[in-house]
């Protein structure tokens, strides 16, 4: 497996070189090679995960104590699978989709390489080298040619936030390195320092540092700007795979390095996750741009995963390792399912943009007739992310909800249990809002009448439809084989806790060690029996129905596309229900002409402001600029003043040293 992984990484380097030098030309060899390398990486990582072993790779030292160490345990291998799986389909999609721009095409394999490197890093130095490579390549991919103002702003915001976050993440790991005296992930994992002020600080730094990458509220503001402006295959990689590396960081520090800790850790993490989930999906509902809507939904789902990590931390603090393991498996299952569904939807959005030349849900509509294959795949992805059973999106949320019920029923302190009950309520609200969000996304884009004329009346090209169909089938398979999936994933907590959290009975059924079982496959069979049965029975009893087509009744006038609801009006009830959270703005201006009582012109405008950005980040930015300007008064370019500063500093030092 070492050889296969190494080969995959080499192929990625070759792919990058081929694009950079322009050898690949029109063949798109870089993307094909990336797809092959991803396939190899999926195989290798799955094998490591299923085998339950830890693979150590050869290391290379550019300088003393700066060793590049590669090590893949089950946790790392799992995130390797997530990255490589998304990369496989995104690469195939990009062959037809991506517009050729030499630098982007060359950066793409390096971006994949860096994400795989993060999952396979074996010490702190290697991890952050790869982490930075990932940040820089993704920044350049978001920036693109940097001509559009929106892209430039999004990319710079991303670059700034990711670097502040990296500082905190580095601090978190260095705190632990300082205690342990080694920087290898192996030694750090064995140390398990447990509760304490330093470990609490390390966890909180990790939550902020890695949570920025995962898009946790209030650190999410870059995500819905940066993810959508990149081309769809990059968006898919960022939103489905790169956010997962943030989760990986939190899980690595919280559940591997720290060991059983304080009771409040879990409460904080659960609360952050729950708030992130609700706000993420609320803002997703308010977006009319498909890709921004999907990006906010990523925020929501990372919140759900974080909730599961919080539950795992709570169970560990209470000494219930089996239940902690079940909660961790819930987090992993949801991470994987989200990766499959979200890459599916981002690629589908790319297909829509390719064909209909728009992502604005207020202008789309009726695409199910011209793009049936894309519509079908999108429906699977939308229902999956709406957490509707028996699809795979429901599986992880079921495991999480069941874990939270166990936690509320008896997991440690009363505060923890009340937090679990509160998280459960917010999880239910999130699920209800996600249903509204994805029914809206699908219904507004694919159903009804086209709101603007679509010139191209055909589905996306075959090479773009192929990954969509494959991902939809994977979503179905991940649900049908949920028991088997969980059987593989329980190897992760087995290495960390050590407990498995789930019992193995059938390949289709999940049995949690805290009680409760669920079989999506059985449910699907029951549904597939009970839905057509009434149809057959009624046909046998009353004969076939005769169908005729007619116009939609519209109070006597001819029905037109403009009479339909739009995505914005569709979200109106929820915009008003949650007006105290969203603080929507609207203004209506009516102009009259002379003495006529009839208005001549009515102008309406409305928006949902990004409250956190405007109330928290903008004042913060103003304060930073203000203090920078004050400081500038000291730096006035006059040598005399500088000599005075040096003298002053000397006096202060002497005074301090004398004491």
């Amino acid at each position: 497996m070492e050889q296969l992984t190494g080969a995959a990484l080499v192929v990625l380097l070759v792919a990058s070189a081929a694009e950079l030098t322009g050898i690949s030309g029109r063949t798109r060899a870089g993307y094909w090679l990336s797809a092959i390398a991803s396939l190899g990486a999926v195989t290798a990582c799955t094998w490591i995960l299923a085998d339950g072993s830890t693979v150590e790779f050869d290391s290379w030292s550019p300088a003393p104590s700066l060793d590049l160490v590669w090590r893949m345990d089950a946790l790392g291998a799992f995130f390797g699978v997530v990255v490589a799986l998304v990369a496989l389909f995104a690469s195939v999609f990009a062959v037809r989709y991506s517009h050729r721009r030499q630098l982007d095409d060359a950066l793409y394999p390096l971006f994949l390489l860096s994400m795989l490197g993060v999952a396979g890093a074996g010490n702190v130095f290697t991890f952050f080298v790869m982490w930075e490579l990932m940040a820089l390549t993704s920044f350049l991919l978001v920036l693109g040619d940097g001509q559009a103002h929106q892209r430039r702003v999004a990319a710079l915001l991303y670059l700034g936030m990711t670097h502040v976050a990296t500082v905190l993440a580095v601090a978190s790991m260095l705190l632990l390195v300082d205690d342990v005296g080694g920087q290898g992930f192996k030694e750090l994992g064995l140390a398990q320092p447990g509760p304490g002020a330093r470990t609490s600080l390390a966890l909180m730094l990790a939550l902020v540092g890695f949570g920025t990458k995962a898009g946790l509220v209030p650190l999410h503001i870059w995500l819905p700007r940066a993810h959508p402006v990149a081309p769809s295959h990059i968006s898919a990689l960022m939103s489905a795979a790169m956010v997962a590396t943030g989760i990986y960081g939190i899980a690595r520090v919280g559940l591997d390095f720290l060991g059983p800790g304080e009771a409040w850790w879990g409460i904080v993490v659960m609360a952050v996750g729950a708030i992130t989930a609700v706000l993420g999906v609320l803002y997703a509902l308010m977006e009319r741009d498909m890709k921004r809507c999907l990006a906010y939904s990523t925020v929501e789902n990372m919140g759900i995963v974080t909730m599961a990590l919080g539950a795992a931390l709570s169970f560990r603090a209470a000494g219930q390792d089996a239940l902690a393991a079940a909660a961790l498996v819930a987090a992993l299952v949801h991470t994987l399912n989200h990766a499959i569904l979200k890459s599916l939807l981002f690629l589908a959005a790319g297909a829509v943009q390719h064909t209909a030349h728009s992502l604005d849900m207020d202008r789309l509509g009726g695409l199910i007739r011209t793009m049936p294959v894309t519509a079908g795949a999108t429906l699977v992805g939308a229902l999956g992310l709406a957490a509707v059973p028996p699809l795979n999106g429901f599986v992880g949320e079921w495991m999480l909800a069941r874990s939270l019920i166990s936690l509320a029923g008896g997991g440690g302190t009363v505060a923890t249990r009340l937090a679990a009950a509160g998280s459960l309520a917010l999880l239910a609200l999130t699920a209800g809002l996600a249903l509204a969000c994805f029914v809206r996304l699908f219904g507004m884009t694919f159903l009804g009448l086209p709101r603007t004329e679509v010139r191209r009346r055909e589905d996306a090209p075959t090479l773009m439809r192929l990954p969509l169909v494959a991902l939809a089938l994977m979503a179905v398979a991940a649900a049908a084989g949920a028991g088997g999936l969980v059987r593989v994933l329980r190897g992760v907590p087995q290495q960390l806790m050590p407990a498995t959290g789930v019992r193995v009975e059938d390949a289709h059924r999940i049995v949690l060690s805290g009680g409760g079982s669920f079989s999506p496959a059985t449910l699907a069979v029951v549904l597939l029996l009970l839905a057509p049965l009434p149809w057959l029975a009624l046909r046998a009893a009353f004969g076939r129905t005769r169908r005729s087509r007619g116009h939609i009744w519209a109070t006597g006038v001819t029905f037109g596309p403009a009479m339909q609801y739009t995505a914005t009006s569709f979200a109106k009830p929820l915009r008003l229900f949650f007006r105290r959270v969203l603080l929507p703005e609207r203004s209506v201006r009516v102009e009259y002409h002379g003495t006529s009582p009839l208005p001549r012109r009515v102008q309406y405008s409305g928006r949902v402001p990004a409250v956190i950005e405007e109330r928290f980040y903008l004042p913060l930015r103003s304060a930073a600029i203000w203090s920078a300007q004050r400081v500038r008064a000291f730096q006035n370019g006059s040598v005399e003043f500088y000599l005075l500063y040096v003298f002053g500093a000397l006096v202060v030092m002497l005074v301090v040293a004398r004491r």
Binding site: F394, W398, G409, A421, G448, P534, R546, R547, H551
Partner: protein, 315 residues
């Protein structure tokens, strides 16, 4: 292979399909009497369904396959949910395949199919109804979950059959404050989910207030009949949950035929009482404005949360 779950499943499905229109007829009749009208005959819902099932359908030119498939998915999801809900005893046809969370999930699946079907033709009414249904549904979901979780935390299981069995066995501990609060939450959920006053009005087609009926406007003939039937089944399932989870006395975990029959008779009696309660509630309350609904549904969620909190505190 054990035949009992299959027989029980068949019995529950037939019961649900046969009794759902009767419960609907009962409520309509009672409401009419409360409003000093004589009202339709008790069996009117059956006549209505039979009429719709034989009629031909008229669909919009813009409708796609979604509109044809949706009614059957809605009914299928409801019937699947019926196999997880204890009815004549504490046993359910399906036990290890799912629990109360899956039942809530199946309700969400039905809502997804219903709302997508409503949006399919492009008619503004259908889209309006779908938009409102989803908004109300999002607020209903926490209340429904919390009211059931209060019982799950108290009994230590999420399987509905086991909750009923433990409740029937322990009996006394069931009439506490948290029990009453969870019952209140589920009652409000039931009013909202069945499209009744104060949330929606099943008797009106006034566009300002419609939720459920608006989604069905583009449907006709057999599809409309199936959607009506699915709505009645949903009402019956919620009534069964309310009757059996909160008043489980007399239900046994492993009944024989005589106990099943007794459980069935008990259930029939409880369902009539639930029907009376619904009719009374609908006749005494006034319809709320759509944008005031968060207050009502939020208080249902709050009641559910307090019920869970008290249970957590006491255990």
């Amino acid at each position: 292979m054990n035949a009992e779950p299959w027989l029980l499943g068949a019995a529950q499905l037939l019961f649900v399909l046969a009794a759902a229109p009767l419960l609907q007829g009962l409520i309509r009749r009672l409401k009419a009497r409360l409003q000093s009208r004589s009202g339709p005959p008790l069996l009117q819902s059956y006549y209505d369904l039979a009429k719709l099932f034989v009629r031909s359908e008229m669909v919009a030119e813009s409708a796609s396959a979604v509109q044809f498939v949706a009614p059957w998915v809605v009914l299928g999801a409801m019937l699947s949910a019926a196999t997880f809900i204890p009815m004549f005893g504490a046993a359910t046809p399906l036990t290890t395949a799912g629990d109360l969370l899956v039942v809530i999930g199946l309700f969400a699946l039905a809502r997804a199919a219903l709302t997508l079907g409503g949006m399919d033709s492009g008619s503004a009414f259908g889209q309006m109804g779908s938009s409102r249904e989803l908004a109300v549904g999002a607020l209903v979901e926490p209340a429904l979950l919390l009211s059931l979780v209060a019982l799950a935390v108290a009994t230590g299981t999420t399987r509905l059959g086991e909750i009923v069995a433990i409740g029937a066995h322990e009996g006394a501990g069931f009439f506490d404050l948290q029990w009453a609060l969870a019952l209140l939450a589920l009652t409000i959920v039931m009013l909202a989910e069945t499209g009744r006053i104060p949330v929606d009005n099943p008797d009106t087609h006034l566009e300002l207030t419609m939720i459920h009926e608006a989604m069905l406007l583009e449907y006709s003939g057999r599809s409309l009949g199936v959607l009506h039937l699915a709505g009645m089944v949903k009402q019956l399932l919620l009534a069964c949950l309310l009757a059996n989870l909160f008043f489980p006395l007399g239900l046994r975990a492993s009944p024989d035929l005589a106990l099943y029959l007794r459980g069935g008779a008990l259930l029939a009696g409880k369902l009539v009482l639930v029907g009376v309660g619904l009719a009374l509630a609908e006749s005494t309350f006034a319809k709320m404005r759509l944008y005031e609904l968060p207050d009502l549904l939020g208080s249902a969620s709050l009641a559910g949360f307090v019920a869970v909190a008290i249970t957590v505190w006491q255990s």
